[in-house]
Symmetry: C2
Subunit: 244 residues, 2 copies
């Protein structure tokens, strides 16, 4: 049995996230449909994470096992032929039999794109969070350093999650500005449900003056979701990099 790893990029604004759902169109669904047209059979596809509805992926990885003999190098063009324009397969490689896109993953980076201007940008529709008030990248980055390290992130996890442990290791929080665009990067060994969105929302509330600078360690220690900031919207959030 061959094990194939696909690297995707998708605009999540028209999807109900990655994972197949009874109601609504998902990336896993359309990719599975395209794969079935190429291979002539339905194969189970394992994604590196369940992205929320509206979340984008500059890089997303998934794998599937098949007996089909199609060369890996031919799969991207074959799949892109059947996929809608919102999803693209960038690469395909053969991987070890025990590789799993989710369980073999050693690290992920998410990016929040914030348009810091008064007027929206038509080219960033559904692709950035519009924040008209002044935002200082240095402040966001400085406050974000409180997330770096191994912590219990229970306060930054949405209700309804069923994970065994809420301990994660955040490796990097970085903010950089390019004109009216501000990017917030979060790199970790893994993320809890809505963790990036709550961390971003908390930093934005500090920048807005609604939460005190330096408040993050106490919120982490409390373990209480109610103490953290709002859940920033999905539009503007990108799965940026997946590491194995």
């Amino acid at each position: 049995m061959r094990n194939l790893l696909l690297t995707l990029r998708f605009d999540g604004s028209g999807f109900h996230g990655w994972q197949v759902q009874p109601n609504g169109c998902t990336v896993q669904q359309v990719l599975g449909d395209a794969l079935e047209r190429v291979l002539g059979r339905r194969e189970a596809i394992h994604g590196c994470s369940r992205t929320d509805a509206g979340v984008h992926a500059r890089m997303f990885c998934c794998n599937f096992r098949t007996e089909h003999a199609i060369p890996a190098a031919r799969l991207p063009a074959a799949l892109n032929f059947y996929l809608c324009g919102q999803v693209a397969v960038l690469d395909c490689t053969e991987v070890a039999a025990d590789f799993h896109a989710r369980y073999s993953c050693t690290g992920k980076t998410y990016c929040y794109l914030i348009r810091n201007a008064r007027a929206r940008d038509p080219f960033l529709l559904h692709r950035a969070l519009l924040k008209p008030f002044p935002l200082e990248a240095a402040l966001l980055e400085r406050e974000g350093q409180a997330f770096v390290g191994t912590h219990d992130f229970a306060a930054f996890c949405a209700a309804g999650s069923s994970v065994k442990s809420t301990v994660r290791t955040v490796r990097r929080v970085e903010a950089c500005r390019d004109g009216e665009e501000l990017r917030l990067f979060f790199e970790a060994d893994g993320f809890l449900y809505n963790m990036v969105r709550i961390m971003a929302g908390t930093l934005l509330e500090i920048a807005r003056g609604r939460l005190e600078p330096g408040c993050i360690p106490a919120i982490l220690a409390s373990g209480d979701r109610a103490n953290a900031g709002f859940t920033a919207p999905a539009a503007g959030l990108y799965l940026w990099k997946v590491e194995y």
Copy 2:
């Protein structure tokens, strides 16, 4: 009578160009509708150019005259409230009575965005021209220098144009690469109908080896549209800058 200059940005992929048409939605139409809702009256809007269907504008200027007293600084937010997400008003200023967005214009820059990769990018859907064959920015820029200067561009003008003179002055042709994205900039005092698209198509045919390097001066001299390259598609073309 006040004369107001608006600076817009629009994603042209859903529009039949700038100018109002009996069939199809145009930017001038939706802007006029929004302006009527804000001012309570219909005003004539003069655009800096007629962009083709599907062409984008990073910067587009237009002006209108009105007796309405609304402060210029309040207009962008008021108009954006009524405009669809594909069009945004970035700025509004009061200008001299004789100012006309088209006739007062002293220069324009267009940019062609080319994705030079095998797989498409979902974030550039309808926003870039996909070219999978190798493209060398230095070659495109070198060949493009033949356009710079004052020439009769009849060979680079689509049929059906009714201009008095086909002489234009191209000030700059520049190609630069950023990873898999290649940008071609054309700056001139003005452009003929489809001129940028035919210049870009000609450069791409030289890069592909379908036209000889150094052929542009002879094509210009011939004055014959049939000798130039293909008309590059609208997707990927941006009105980049408008000067007064």
